[in-house]
């Protein structure tokens, strides 16, 4: 059986998704299942000029960056019509990263005209209907290299991928970033962190952490195979979400002292009841430092 052909094209981007994928420790084993015909960084049989001027075979089209109808010119040519011509021929389209999926950071420069390929934040754009049948959304700023690789492997093996209403694979986005966070005990017992730079305490109450209502597997399939934002005390900024980036990212917005946004799907009343009970106990162990170094 011949290998599926792969074409990776950029629009308005920072190159972060390309570099994130280059960090995949099994990158070339993954790529050995495909014929990579064009990539913005890796050496490929075709260059950008050939990509634009001719029709390179393309079974899987990977898109990086956000889109604008006019003004994104490469080699003297508007890139969006070129991308659409590949999208029409492709069997699968993967939007790699939040920019390509929902618009992302770069959308904010011109919110009316810059969008994702098929979505403008959560709204479908007119292109959606043409490509919906073959669209897979892999948001994340940047994309998680492993998530992309597993989806590519599934496509190579013809496995059907269950998707949600925004075309995200349920296996990767069916859980929240909160799942697997090393600070879960502190969340359960409502123990807030006492400041930046501590391994103890939850970042949800004051420090802006969006993990309980952000879809993604960051704390299940770790970053760089070893870590995640919340593990190192950085709040989750909701970078996989259509709304990324919001503002005041290091602060939790509250209503009468309660986080304004509830954990995904949890009714406010349920949250208040559960936290009221959890908070009424003082768990000494969770108030102490995990490790005491002798000075």
């Amino acid at each position: 059986m011949s290998k599926l052909t792969l074409v990776w094209v950029q629009s308005i981007s920072c190159n972060g998704n390309a570099h994130s994928f280059l960090n995949h420790p099994e990158l070339f084993s993954i790529l050995s299942h495909f014929e990579l015909l064009y990539h913005p960084v890796l050496d490929t049989p075709y260059g950008l000029t050939e990509l634009i001027e001719s029709e390179i075979p393309c079974d899987i089209l990977i898109l990086e960056g956000s889109f604008k109808a006019e003004g994104v010119v490469k080699v003297g040519v508007e890139i969006l019509p070129v991308i659409e011509s590949y999208a029409k021929r492709a069997e699968h389209i993967i939007t790699a990263g939040t920019c390509a999926t929902f618009g992302g950071v770069f959308k904010q420069y011109d919110p009316t005209h810059i969008t994702g390929f098929c979505f403008d934040e959560e709204e479908r754009v007119s292109r959606y209907d043409s490509y919906a049948s073959k669209l897979i959304s892999l948001p994340g700023c940047p994309i998680h290299p492993k998530w992309l690789s597993y989806v590519l492997m599934m496509l190579a093996q013809g496995i059907s991928i269950p998707l949600d209403h925004l075309h995200r694979p349920q296996e990767l986005y069916g859980i929240t970033v909160h799942t697997g966070c090393t600070r879960n005990e502190y969340f359960e017992w409502k123990v807030d962190t006492k400041g930046w730079g501590l391994k103890e305490g939850c970042l949800f109450y004051e420090n802006g952490c969006q993990a309980p209502y952000t879809r993604g597997s960051c704390n299940k399939i770790l970053w760089n195979d070893i870590s995640s934002k919340t593990i190192v005390g950085t709040p989750c900024f909701g970078c996989t979400e259509p709304s990324f980036p919001k503002t005041a990212l290091f602060h939790t917005k509250t209503n009468m002292g309660i986080p304004a946004t509830m954990p995904l799907g949890v009714p406010r009343r349920a949250y208040l009841t559960a936290t009221g009970i959890a908070k009424s106990f003082k768990i000494k162990r969770l108030e102490e430092r995990v490790v005491e170094y002798e000075v």
Binding site: N15, V72, S228, L249, V295
Partner: protein
């Protein structure tokens, strides 16, 4: 004769318009495709949001943007009278993660760009998959980075007063072991000699002694006379003070002080990239500049013979990796985990602040300027290293990279010289 040449597979793309005359490059114009407006996106946001937004300027030097933006905020607080004192631990961790990013960048440039392109240029292709080596080195060293910063690319773990992480020695041991793995690979594959031997040679190192892929590259470059081409204005500038980098400017044989206040940006006709100068003069930034300003013996001795040639420029970047790996080892050994990670638990509220953050990014000095009123950004200014090296020039002289390319016999050679500056298109047109 005018020839248009697309330069791709750098960080983004650039278009060069060459003017050829009598079989040599006479002039070059550098153009970049589009503008993304990060500075405008930041206006109106909360001051700390810069720590999340600015790394998104660039997929390959995002961490340097984070450090520049946190320093800009810290500088603003200091100027407003709030003391910001980093613990040695926080300072060490920031230096470590920055070093990892530089190593990642330089080795990708070496294996994805320079070595394969040189082989192609001089007809000495081996057909080896160098990208495999690039990916191995990059994934190993960024894994060490992620132990402290959570992830690479696009971490936001540096906050005013320190870092968000609170590592144990378990993390430090993992980082050490990943660093050792990188060093081992470097010894066996990149330089083909023990680290200690390389470092102990100091200026007495003969290029012929270096083996491995770096040795192969140097051999090909010497054979092709690349110590004689690619020279520019031989003038260097560094603003960052960290790791073993020292700020200053180097001209002829003297190194003197610099003040970031004299850095000027100017709009260039027909380009989205702004030009940068220091007191109206153009300077080269990057590893060669850092080595010249810090009077790094090995680079200085090479410079004595070959000036700011292609050979010296390329040598400096790989040489910097050896020194960064060595320095990073010491950084990890010296970390004292009983020290605080962050020293400003809550940020004092100020009516307004204005600060400048400087960092040595992979390609040279990176400068962020922030202006904040009532907690919100009113102006943000980013000056990236590639702007220094790629400016069009002024009435008095040509831009740094243009001067280096002028006189080349072929467009292919000129393009290779261009890439020796490790071009970042996405940074340049933020």
């Amino acid at each position: 004769m005018q020839i248009k040449q697309l330069i791709e597979k750098i960080e983004g793309e650039a278009e060069l318009d060459f003017t050829l005359s009598h079989g040599r490059v006479e002039d070059v114009t550098i153009n970049f495709g589009f503008y993304r407006g990060i500075e405008e996106i930041l206006v109106g946001k909360h001051l700390l949001d810069a720590l999340v937004i600015t790394p998104r300027v660039c997929g390959i030097c995002n961490h340097a943007h984070l450090i520049a933006s946190v320093r800009a905020i810290e500088d603003g607080y200091q100027k407003a009278g709030v003391e910001v004192a980093l613990s040695p631990k926080a300072k060490g961790i920031r230096e470590f993660t920055l070093s990892c990013e530089l190593i990642q960048n330089h080795m990708k440039w070496f294996y994805l760009t320079i070595l394969p392109q040189l082989e192609r240029l001089v007809g000495a292709e081996t057909g080896e998959n160098y990208a495999l080596k690039a990916s191995y080195l990059s994934s190993t060293i960024t894994k060490a980075l992620a132990l402290f910063a959570g992830q690479w690319p696009h971490s936001s773990y540096a906050v005013p007063g320190g870092v968000t992480c609170d590592p144990t020695y378990v993390e430090v041991m993992q980082a050490q072991s990943l660093l050792d793995e990188t060093i081992r690979f470097f010894e066996e594959v990149v330089i083909g000699m023990p680290f200690e031997c390389y470092l102990a040679r100091d200026k007495a190192l003969h290029l012929q002694e270096i083996a491995g892929d770096f040795g192969r590259l140097l051999g090909l470059m010497e054979r092709e006379g690349m110590g004689e081409v690619g020279q520019s204005h031989d003038r260097f500038i560094v603003f960052g003070e960290e790791i073993f980098f020292r700020s200053g400017k180097s001209m002829a044989t003297t190194v003197s002080g610099v003040d970031v206040r004299y850095v000027e940006e100017a709009i260039q006709q027909g380009s989205y990239a702004k030009a940068v100068s220091y007191k109206q003069r153009l300077y080269e930034v990057g590893p060669l500049a850092r080595a010249m300003v810090a009077k790094e013996p090995m680079v200085k001795s090479l410079h004595k013979y070959y000036k700011d040639s292609l050979l010296t420029r390329i040598f400096s970047r790989v040489h910097e990796v050896v020194r960064l790996l060595d320095y990073s080892k010491t950084l990890l050994q010296n970390l004292r985990l009983d020290e605080p990670s962050a020293t400003l638990p809550t940020l004092p509220k100020l009516d307004s602040l204005e600060g400048v953050g400087v960092v040595e990014a992979a390609r040279g000095s990176l400068i962020h300027r922030t202006r904040v009123v009532e907690g919100h950004i009113t102006q943000y200014d980013i000056i990236v290293p590639t702007q220094w090296n790629l400016s069009h020039g002024n009435a008095l002289e040509r831009g740094i990279a243009i001067e280096a390319m002028v006189g080349s016999e072929t467009i292919e050679k000129a393009s290779f010289i261009f890439k020796s500056f490790d071009i970042c298109s996405v940074c340049t047109t933020q």
